[in-house]
Symmetry: C2
Subunit: 297 residues, 2 copies
């Protein structure tokens, strides 16, 4: 992997964290950053995340940069780290300018819509397979980026029937070398999972904030703050995520509503043993989820 | 306050943490623990939380214990740290055996039902005013108790029209000396607040656990784990809390459902600007709640 060049498109929280981590794990590769915002490029250079930066993806390949040993990079590896709604446009631009055989992946939180788009599209030069590192935060922006964000995280790699096995292998190998745990699964299965463990909790936490009166907020202790933390996610990232995983999320919101209705009717009817059973089953499941993570960690 | 004796009824997570903190802040007072479980009494003695322990509240006062300087305690102060559904029974027992003028408070998470009960009841010897330290955890049991649990926490003290001002003053002063921030408010207002910032998030987190498939749990990252943490609360404590705050909680569950319905219909109709607005307002409110806490902290 040393004889490669990395192009990171988008130098926000994820792009910045990835650049920092790649720099740490592959100190000799050439790292090129792309951002429309020149200040982000300057900041990324200052923090030594990138060797060079451009405001347009095409520029990265025009330069045909040498690696740090003075060789031309044999292999290009492009990571698209942008909001999911602009990812297709940027992949298309990379396809227009990158050398043949360039491997491209993204880090978006939904995979079905980008996979469908990629299957329909005939790329001229690139090989694209989607990824999704499960390492988010309610924080966003390059100022919060950190190299250890991905340490021990799951990374979903989502090949389709049109994916080239060699691209899947290189992308998986890249993530493993960064110290993550790679799981291959279909884009459909991926979106089903993240709807439940990420998008549904986010929607619920946001609704909770709407249900609470502003005057009460100052009394919220750790329990309240934990339960609603994800509601702080950037709406510019999360709105397109929710819309692109609309089908799964609507189904899961329905399941959630049924569960809540069960609780409400037990409480309304003062059915204390039903309330207790509901809480006990939820608590048991929650404790299992922690212990499973520990086992696999 | 040094010339007093404290009786703590219930040596679980809250009772144990309180004993440890009282010991630290009032090293010379006599501390008596009451628990039906002899092992909890032995454990509390071993950890030096209490000087003596009994399985029945009556015994605490029979002994008429000396303080550590050999004086009879001039004033008794009783803290009931049990699940809310057994608190009335234990207050009644304390009233039967305690010396006249003994001040009694509890630490239960709901205050309206205990206040109503206390207003109807004619105590023979004690003066009761309810308290609620906002310092819980999803953990329970004496093994997790710790002296710093209450540090900087809000404590609600909830007098009613029948409360003796002297009792309110002594209870508030006690909590302040433990390093907490005391707020006086009516039992009704108290229950309205905790329904929103504690009971509603708990019910929602539990429903979330029911909505998620067991197979997906292993992929839950920090966002999911934070959002559902409170669902681990002990159902034996929480079922009576929910039932005794049923009115407020049902109202708040209704508000929550309306907010969620708004989101669902925006998502179903692909109204992306509505989804974004919903998320933005929720995020802004959540960030304000953190900053207000910081300001007041």
């Amino acid at each position: 992997v040393t004889h490669s060049a990395f192009v990171i498109v988008g130098l926000g929280f994820i792009g910045g964290s990835l650049a920092a981590r790649i720099r740490r794990h592959f100190p000799r590769v050439r790292l090129i950053g792309i951002s429309r915002d020149r200040r982000k490029i300057s900041a990324a250079k200052r923090r030594k995340w990138i060797d060079a930066g451009f405001t347009h993806p095409g520029k990265a390949f025009h330069q045909n940069p040498l690696d740090r040993k003075g060789r031309n990079p044999a292999r290009w590896f492009v990571l698209i780290c942008t909001p999911v709604d602009v990812t297709p446009k940027l992949i298309s631009e990379v396809d227009r300018y990158a050398p043949s055989g360039t491997v491209v992946t993204d880090v978006g939180s939904t995979k079905q819509s980008i996979a469908r788009w990629a299957s329909r599209k005939r790329f001229r030069r690139i090989q694209f397979v989607g990824s999704h590192p499960l390492a988010g935060s309610h924080l966003s922006g390059a100022e919060h980026a950190r190299a250890d964000l991905f340490k021990g995280a799951y990374v979903f790699v989502t090949p389709t029937q049109v994916s080239k096995p060699e691209a899947v292998r290189r992308i998986s190998s890249f993530w493993r070398k960064l110290g993550t745990r790679v799981l291959l699964l279909t884009p459909e299965k991926h979106d089903e999972i993240v709807s439940q463990i990420s998008h549904l909790p986010h929607a619920v936490a946001s609704a909770l904030m709407h249900a609470v009166s502003s005057k009460m907020l100052r009394y919220g202790a750790s329990g309240f703050l934990d339960t609603t933390r994800v509601a702080q996610g950037d709406p510019r990232l999360w709105t397109p995520i929710f819309l692109s995983n609309r089908g799964h999320l609507l189904k899961d919101l329905g399941r959630f509503e049924s569960a809540l209705q069960y609780f409400i009717s037990a409480l309304r009817g003062r059915r204390s043993s039903r309330v207790a059973r509901f809480l006990r089953a939820a608590g048991r499941k929650r404790r299992e989820s922690t212990s499973r993570r520990k086992e696999s960690g």
